[in-house]
Structures are given as structure tokens and as C-alpha cells.
Amino acid sequence: MIISLNHYLVLAALLFSIGVAGVLTRRNAIIIFASIELMMNAVNLAFVAFARHWGDVGGQIFVFFIIAVAAAEVAVGLAIIVVLFRHRETVNIDKVNLLKW
């Protein structure tokens, strides 16, 4: 069995969808956030696979930047979640609905 680009891509698609499922089902804001990281990772995998396909380093560089973005988002996101916890003693996303309609 020869492992081709398509195998990697299908794996990426599945991981991405698992991440989406996590965002749509988990109530813990931190885990939702972790699920988003899972989605990003799947994208990274697709990028690196495509980079290999094209023999081009550009895809890998893009992954480098995605990781940087993810790091910054996590820093800010976790800070926001800590503030949330200070306010409500919970990180349950269902309880965050002051703003609506």
C-alpha cells in the first residue's frame, strides 16, 4: 500500500471534523478552545502534506505562522476564560448568555 496525499488529507479532514464536533458539543469553554486547536492542527497537517506534494516550503512556513497565531490566541483566550471564571465561578458556556436577542 502506497500512502498518497489523499490519505493524509482524509486524515486531516477527519481530525478537523472531530474538532468541529468538540466545539459544538462540549460545554467547558477550555475544552471548546482545545477543540479549536485540534481543528488548527488538522489544517496544519493538510498544509504540510500539500507542501510535500508541491515540493514547496511555503506550506510549511504557513504552518509556522498558524502555530504562532494559535499561541497568541491561546494566551488571550485563556486570560479571558480566567476572567470569566472570576465573574461566575464557572466556565460552562451554557451559562454565558447575558447578551442575547
Binding site: 459544538l24 447575558l98 436577542w101
Partner: protein, 658 residues
């Protein structure tokens, strides 16, 4: 118009016409706090006088030009350009806009002067004059524009000012709502107007009158796209000019100060729709379906509003419905391709309706002061509390009598000539059904106008009598009334028909604007009747008007309290003594009462209040309810948002790859 456009002379005066009121608005608006009330009024009136004098100069300039070359243009600057499509801020004075600017600035000036007296002592007087001048600026822009987009600016601007002025005494919540309704209904109309302009641009690649008309002339008679454009524009006109089914705002608009009703809701703004249709005469002539719609809507509105006018007790509401009805006449005229007749009636109506409104303002002013001094809490606009005011308000009475005679179509007065011309053209074009409706309306008009006159000025004073009585308004108010009364008499003499030995100069004057449209429309229904028929119909219509007056006399003057007296139990003798009026009673029970009941219960209470009013308010309510439902999808739950997002993603991906 081709040769006309080619020879259109330049005039450097035109910009001054809107500039005068704009300047007045600026000074009054900026100096609002320091401006004495009287100075503000004088300044605003002076600005209008300036505009009027310039309009007069422009008119004289136009007259000096050859018959077919009567057009003056002035381009201020290129507003914007999109490809080869460009729109200028540019003014056009041709015979049609010359009539309009003279009417707007002239009648406007008189109403401004009148307002000085009317608004005396009102804390918002300076603001009032600011709005009034702003209105005049937009109205003059509307009629002077040389393209539909600039016209639309004026169109929106006058709507805005009308809205501000309707709600002028803003602490009153009902008045605030009235302003709201005016604006919303007008937006429904504007929806059509904007779409019409967009479609016009898409079809002709221009919105400039000359270019549009030249290019439209190449389209076949009855072309679908021109029909669509004209119908959309007419939707705008029904909103602005208060025609069925969008007329509902006008009676409510009476909440504003009375001079505003006179200027905006009688003489000028509401006629913008008629002006627009007349301006677009070439387009309408190419679209016979639209013309029929215009004529039918006009005729039915005329009849409909007149029947409602029969039963109103609020003096301003009577005049408001009367305005709706008269506007219907003007549309009827345009609808039978007698654009000149429509504009003629627009002009004479501006004179006598402004007169009637200002007269009613004078009455209200007097009643208001009377109630105030006598310490009575009452409605100063309700005719049931008036009566016998003739001796206290002589100038107001005599001038209003002239107005009533003019609107009733008594021969020799302005209303007679203009109304007759519309009726005759309707008859001549073979629209006998519409003609009959218009004739009936004419009788009803005479009836309710004299009902108003008798209830207000004749008989006994029906309010509690204090030691004082209502006083005549000051000179600053009565002099404009007299001038308008004079105009209501002589204003029609410029359009005396040939059959009465006149030259109908008015029609001649407008001919260059309308000839192309009328040529096309004439292909559709040729066939002129002879002079004898014209005279006969004229006589008939006059008789109908006179009988309307006669009936009003019988019901409201000779026997004003007939029903009450019977009910008061004066005994069977009473009936015997007055048995000569049995005829009247039978007529009353058999004809007038059912008519009134139909009008009151069905047309007004049901159709007007429930259906049309309800439709406007209901649309707003349904939309709001719907909006409340829609906003509930905003649950506040971030996960639901993400879910909607994901569903959107799946759908869009599938749409792209499938």
C-alpha cells in the same frame, strides 16, 4: 424638446431661487437663540419674497424667448459621474417649472407673512421659520431640478420638512405619531420612486429629463418597460400626493400648525406628485396602461375623499380630505393626457386651498384665543362649537366665502375654469365613467365646503358664551387672505377656454412642455367634440355645483337643528309647522342619511380607519412582530451560533462543489 434642448439658454439667476430660502434657513437656524421671533419671521418672509422676485424675473426672461425655445438652464457642478452616466446639480426653468416656482414662492411668501401673525408668542417660532424656509428650499429644488435624481433630493427633503413640521408641537404624542405615519407612508411611495429611477437609468442610461425623454421617444407605444417605470414613479406620486391607497397620512398630518397645512399639505408639497407626472408626460403618454391607472386612481380618490369630507367635524380634516379629493382631480387630468389642465388646477387649487386653510387657521386662532380667555376647555377645530362667526371675523368670512365659491366651481372664479377643463378633457377623451364620478364629486365638494362655511360662520355661536367674543385676526394674517382671495378670483382668467371666448393662454404657455406627450397620447384617443357639447357639459357641471350649495344651505342654514328639535319633543305640532320640510326629511332619510352612513360607517370608520389605516399600522406591527421572532434566533448561546456557522459551512461547500 430636441430643438429646445439645443437652444436652451443659460441663466445665471436660477440658483438664487432656492438660495434665498436656504440663506434664510441658515441665518435663522444658526442664530436660533439670539433671534427675536419677529425678526425671524420677517427674515424668512423676505427670503421668500426674494425667491419670488427672482422667479418673476426668470418668468419674464422666458417670455422674452421664442415660444419653442423657452428653457433656461444653469449647471452648478457635476454631482457625480459613473462611466458615461453623469448627473449634474443643474437647474432647468421651462414653462412648467416657471409656473411651479411662481406658485411655490408666491403662495409660500404669503403663507410666511401670515405665519408671522399665527406663530406670534409661540416659543418655537424661530425654529418654525427655519423649517419653513428649509422646506421652501427643497421644494424649489424639486421643481427646478433638471434630472430625476436632483428631483428626488427635493422630494425627500420636502418629506423630511413636512415630517418635522407635522410634529412641530412635539410634546404632543399623537402629533409625533402623525409625523411618523407621514414619513413611513412616504417611504412606501419612495420605494417605488427609487426603483423607478433605477429602472429608468438601466433602460435609458440617464436620469436627465431631456436625455431620458429623447431616448424614450424611440421606444414603441405601450412598451412594457416604460409602463413599469411610470407605474413605479406613480407609486411614489401616490405617497407624496396622498392618493389611494397611500393617502392616510394627509388627514393625520393636520396635527401640525395650520399655515404648514396650507403651504405643505395643500399648496405645494402634495402637488409634487402631479408635477412629477406632468414632467414625465412623454413617458406616461407612451404607457397607456399607466395613464389609465393614473386617471382611475385620481377619479376614485376624488370621489372617495369627498364622501369622507361630508361627515368630518374637524374644520382642518374637512379641508384635508378636500385636498386629497382635489389632488385626485389633478391626477385625473394628467391621466387623460390633459397635463396642462392638471397643472392649471394645481395652480388654482394652490390659491384657493391655501386661502381656505389660512382662513380656517384664522378661525382656529380666534377660537383658541376665545377659549383660552374664557377659560373653556374645548376643541378649537371642531365646527360643532363654532357658528355665527361671520360678524366677529368679517375679513376671514368674506375671503373664505370666495374660496368656497372658487372650489365649488362657480363660473368666473378660478376653480371653475381649471376644474371644467379637466372635466371637459375627461369627457372628450371618452372616459364617460370617470367623468360621471368627477361630476358627482364636484357636487359633493360644493356641498361639504358650504357645510363647512355655514357651520362655521352662520347660525348661532354654539359654544358657551363668555363676556367676550372671538376676535378677528391681525392684519398680517388677513392681508394675505385678501391677496389669496383676489388670486382665487382672477387666477383662472389666464386659462379661459376658447369656447367662452378666451385664448387659454395658460395652455399655450405650457404647450412646448407637453406637446410631444400629447401628440403621442392623441394617437390613442383622437376625436374632439364640438363647442356646443363643451358648453352643455359646463352648464351641467355648474348646476350640479349649485345644487350642492343649495343642499348645504337647506341642511345647515335653513334648518340647522332639525333633528335635534324633533328629538327635543316640540310635539307633533312641530312637524306640522315645518311640514314644508317633509320633502327635505324624506330626502334626508332616503338619500343623505344613507349616504352619510355609508360614508361615515363604511368609508371612513371601516375602510379608512380599519382597512387602509390598519394596513399601514398593521404592516408596521406585522414587521415588528416578525422582527421579534427573527431576533429570537439570537439565543445568546455561543454554541448555537457555532452550530449555525457549521451548517452554513456545509451548505456553502456543497453549493460550490456540487
Amino acid at each position: 424638446m430636441e430643438h429646445e434642448a439645443a437652444t436652451a439658454a443659460h441663466s445665471s439667476l436660477l440658483w438664487l431661487i432656492p438660495a434665498f430660502p436656504f440663506l434664510g434657513m441658515l441665518i435663522n437656524g444658526l442664530m436660533r437663540r439670539r433671534m427675536p421671533e419677529k425678526a425671524a419671521g420677517i427674515l424668512a418672509s423676505a427670503a421668500m419674497l426674494g425667491a419670488f422676485l427672482v422667479s418673476l424675473l426668470v418668468f419674464l426672461d422666458l417670455r422674452a424667448l421664442p415660444h419653442h425655445g423657452r428653457a433656461l438652464t444653469q449647471t452648478i457642478y457635476t454631482w457625480f459621474a459613473v462611466g458615461d452616466f453623469h448627473v449634474d446639480v443643474s437647474f432647468l426653468a421651462d414653462p412648467l417649472s416657471a409656473v411651479m416656482i411662481l406658485v411655490v414662492s408666491g403662495v409660500g411668501f404669503l403663507i410666511h407673512v401670515y405665519s408671522i401673525g399665527y406663530m406670534k408668542g409661540d416659543p418655537g417660532a424661530v425654529r418654525y421659520f427655519t423649517y419653513l424656509n428649509l422646506f421652501a428650499f427643497f421644494m424649489l429644488t424639486l421643481v427646478l431640478a433638471d434630472n430625476y435624481l436632483l428631483m428626488f433630493v427635493g422630494w425627500e427633503g420636502v418629506g423630511l420638512c413636512s415630517y418635522l413640521l407635522i410634529g412641530f408641537w412635539y410634546t404632543d404624542y399623537e402629533k409625533a405619531l402623525a409625523g411618523n405615519k407621514a414619513f413611513i407612508v412616504n417611504r412606501i411611495g419612495d420605494f417605488g420612486f427609487i426603483l423607478g429611477i433605477l429602472l429608468m437609468f438601466a433602460t435609458f442610461g440617464s436620469v436627465e429629463y431631456g436625455t431620458v425623454f429623447d431616448r424614450a421617444a424611440g421606444f414603441p407605444y405601450g412598451s412594457a418597460v416604460i409602463t413599469a417605470i411610470t407605474l413605479l414613479l406613480f407609486l411614489g406620486a401616490t405617497g407624496k400626493s396622498a392618493q389611494l391607497p397611500l393617502y392616510v397620512w394627509l388627514p393625520d398630518a393636520m396635527a401640525g400648525p395650520t399655515p404648514v397645512s396650507a403651504l405643505i399639505h395643500a399648496a405645494t408639497m402634495v402637488t409634487a406628485g402631479v408635477y412629477m407626472v406632468a414632467r414625465s408626460n412623454l413617458l406616461y403618454s407612451l404607457a397607456p396602461v399607466s395613464l389609465t391607472v393614473v386617471a382611475a386612481v385620481g377619479a376614485f380618490t376624488a370621489l372617495f375623499a369627498a364622501t369622507i369630507g361630508l361627515t368630518q367635524f374637524d374644520i382642518k380634516k374637512v379641508l384635508a380630505y378636500s385636498t386629497v379629493s382635489q389632488l385626485g382631480y389633478m391626477f385625473l387630468g394628467c391621466g387623460v393626457a390633459a397635463f396642462g389642465a392638471g397643472i392649471f388646477h394645481l395652480m388654482t387649487h394652490a390659491f384657493f386651498k391655501a386661502l381656505l386653510f389660512l382662513g380656517s387657521g384664522s378661525v382656529i386662532h380666534a377660537m383658541d384665543h376665545y377659549f383660552h380667555h374664557a377659560g373653556i376647555k374645548s376643541n378649537a377645530q371642531d365646527m360643532r362649537y363654532m357658528g355665527g362667526l361671520r360678524k366677529h371675523l368679517p375679513s376671514t368670512y368674506w375671503t373664505m366665502l370666495v374660496g368656497c365659491l372658487a372650489i365649488a366651481g362657480i363660473p368666473g372664479l378660478s376653480g371653475f375654469f381649471s376644474k371644467d377643463e379637466i372635466l371637459w378633457k375627461t369627457f372628450a377623451s371618452g372616459n364617460y365613467g370617470l367623468w360621471i364620478i368627477a361630476v358627482i364629486t364636484s357636487g359633493l365638494t360644493a356641498f361639504y365646503m358650504f357645510r363647512l362655511l355655514y357651520m362655521t360662520f352662520h347660525g348661532d355661536f354654539r359654544s358657551a358664551k363668555g363676556h367676550d367674543h372671538p376676535h378677528e385676526s391681525p392684519r398680517v394674517m388677513t392681508v394675505p387672505l385678501m391677496i389669496l382671495a383676489g388670486l382665487s378670483v382672477v387666477g383662472g382668467w389666464v386659462g379661459i377656454p376658447h369656447v367662452l371666448g378666451g385664448g387659454n393662454q395658460f395652455e399655450m404657455w405650457l404647450e412646448p412642455v407637453f406637446e410631444r406627450g400629447q401628440e403621442i397620447a392623441a394617437l390613442a384617443h383622437a376625436g374632439e367634440h364640438g363647442g356646443a357639447t363643451e358648453l352643455l357639459t359646463m352648464l351641467f357641471v355648474t348646476l350640479v355645483g349649485l345644487s350642492g350649495i343649495g343642499l348645504a344651505y337647506l341642511f345647515y342654514l335653513r334648518q340647522p337643528k332639525l333633528p335635534e328639535k324633533v328629538a327635543a319633543g316640540a310635539g307633533p305640532l312641530y312637524g306640522l309647522v315645518y311640514n314644508k320640510y317633509y320633502v327635505d326629511e324624506i330626502y334626508d332619510a332616503g338619500v343623505v342619511q344613507p349616504l352619510k352612513a355609508t360614508s361615515n360607517h363604511f368609508l371612513w370608520r371601516f375602510f379608512d380607519v380599519k382597512i387602509v389605516d390598519g394596513l399601514v399600522n398593521g404592516t408596521a406591527r406585522v414587521m415588528t412582530e416578525f422582527g421579534t421572532g427573527v431576533r429570537k434566533i439570537q439565543t445568546g448561546q455561543v454554541q448555537n451560533y457555532a452550530l449555525a456557522f457549521a451548517v452554513g459551512v456545509v451548505v456553502i461547500i456543497l453549493a460550490f462543489v456540487l
